[in-house]
Amino acid sequence: MSEKIDIYLNGDRLQVAAGLDLQQLQQQFATDQQVAIALNTEIMPRRCWPERVLQARDQVLMFNLVAGG
């Protein structure tokens, strides 16, 4: 059985596979492709998502990009 770690996604505690990166997290949990991701209060450029592997207790904020006003 693969190892799991606990993270927080939009405030909710969640178990994910160890070694999961931000891009994989987005593919698993965001139905909308047009999202931004903040990891521990830093918004990560999309290009960096595959390089950022999640660590236990990471705080992730995933939010939809919008253009209204």
Binding site: N10, G11, D32, Q34, V35, A36, A38, T41, E42, I43, M44, P45, R46, R47, C48, L61, F63, N64, L65, V66, A67, G68, G69
Partner: protein, 279 residues
């Protein structure tokens, strides 16, 4: 109640503050009364009020974000507001675009807002640009302003402001909302010294077509109000001390009814800011 302006004791409140430098000219009595609650704040002063009167702010978009932002900047005493919007007031705007009334339906938003705001504060200058600004005109107006607020409702305008402010190395503020999603931002292209490099709107991910907008997804009425007020508050802080802040985003989380502040990291390969970010 009739207020006798001639009997107003200015020293009763100004004595609470220590002005950083000698006043060039005191506020006229009526203005002192108008701004009196603000002047009572511990970090405010007549000097600061007079400095704010010298500031020019461009607000692009007078919808759900622009109306509250402009209202509070006018009330605070920003000396010159330039309101840009080519749209007309519609009935569906009224619930959240609080500067307009039923009688304004069909009128240009920038002109209708300017007229209302001038009634709110007759001591400042308010001009309307009742057109959709092309990029050249936008660049000219941004260069004129001390600060730019993007309150527009479309991606093309937001990206144009982002690009121009990057070219001009100008700090700017903006916000975006649709449905229950929304966020505001401060983007500061300046870098160097002890200030870490921050990202721009394209680093956030705004370089691709985004879904819908309020026309398709609706919008949570109090959210645009809150975002507009955030912009006004951030603008006053920025105008007052011009602090060089790293780019950040305030993200609204509807379920928690709260905002989270996150730093906006620069994408080294960003087509907009990646080339100049290291300069």
């Amino acid at each position: 109640m009739v207020i006798n302006l001639t009997t107003l004791e200015k020293s009763s409140t100004s004595a609470n503050h220590s002005a950083p430098t000698a006043l060039q000219s005191p506020l006229p009595d009526q203005q002192f009364l108008y701004y009196s609650r603000q002047l009572l704040l511990p970090d405010w002063s007549e000097q600061r009020q007079l400095q704010l009167q010298q500031k020019k702010v461009l607000i692009v978009g007078m919808g759900g974000l622009g109306c509250p932002a402009a209202t509070y900047l006018a009330g605070a005493g920003v000396g010159w507001l330039l309101l840009a919007d080519g749209d007309k007031v519609e009935l569906s705007n009224l619930p959240r675009q609080t500067l307009f009334r039923v009688s304004d339906v069909g009128a240009n938003k920038a002109q209708a807002a300017a007229a209302t705001l001038q009634q709110l504060n007759p001591f400042i200058r308010i001009d309307a640009l009742p057109v959709i600004l092309d990029e050249a005109e936008l660049a000219r107006r941004i260069a004129w302003a001390d600060l730019v607020l993007d309150c527009s409702d479309n991606l093309a305008t937001k990206l144009a402001i982002n690009r121009i402010c990057q070219q001009q190395q100008r700090c700017w503020l903006g916000a975006s909302a649709s449905g229950y999603q929304g966020y505001s931002w401060l983007i500061n292209p300046a870098s160097g010294g002890c200030l870490a490099k921050g990202g721009c709107l394209e680093c956030l991910g705004h370089q691709q077509p985004l879904p819908g907008g309020c026309l398709q997804q609706g919008v949570y009425t109090p959210l645009v109000g809150q975002l507009g007020l955030q912009l006004a508050s951030m603008a006053l802080q920025q105008l007052a001390n011009g602090r060089r802040r790293r780019s950040f985003v305030h993200i609204y989380q509807h379920h928690q009814q709260q905002f989270s502040q996150c730093q906006l990291l620069a994408d080294p390969q960003c087509e907009c800011c990646g080339v100049t970010a290291d300069v």
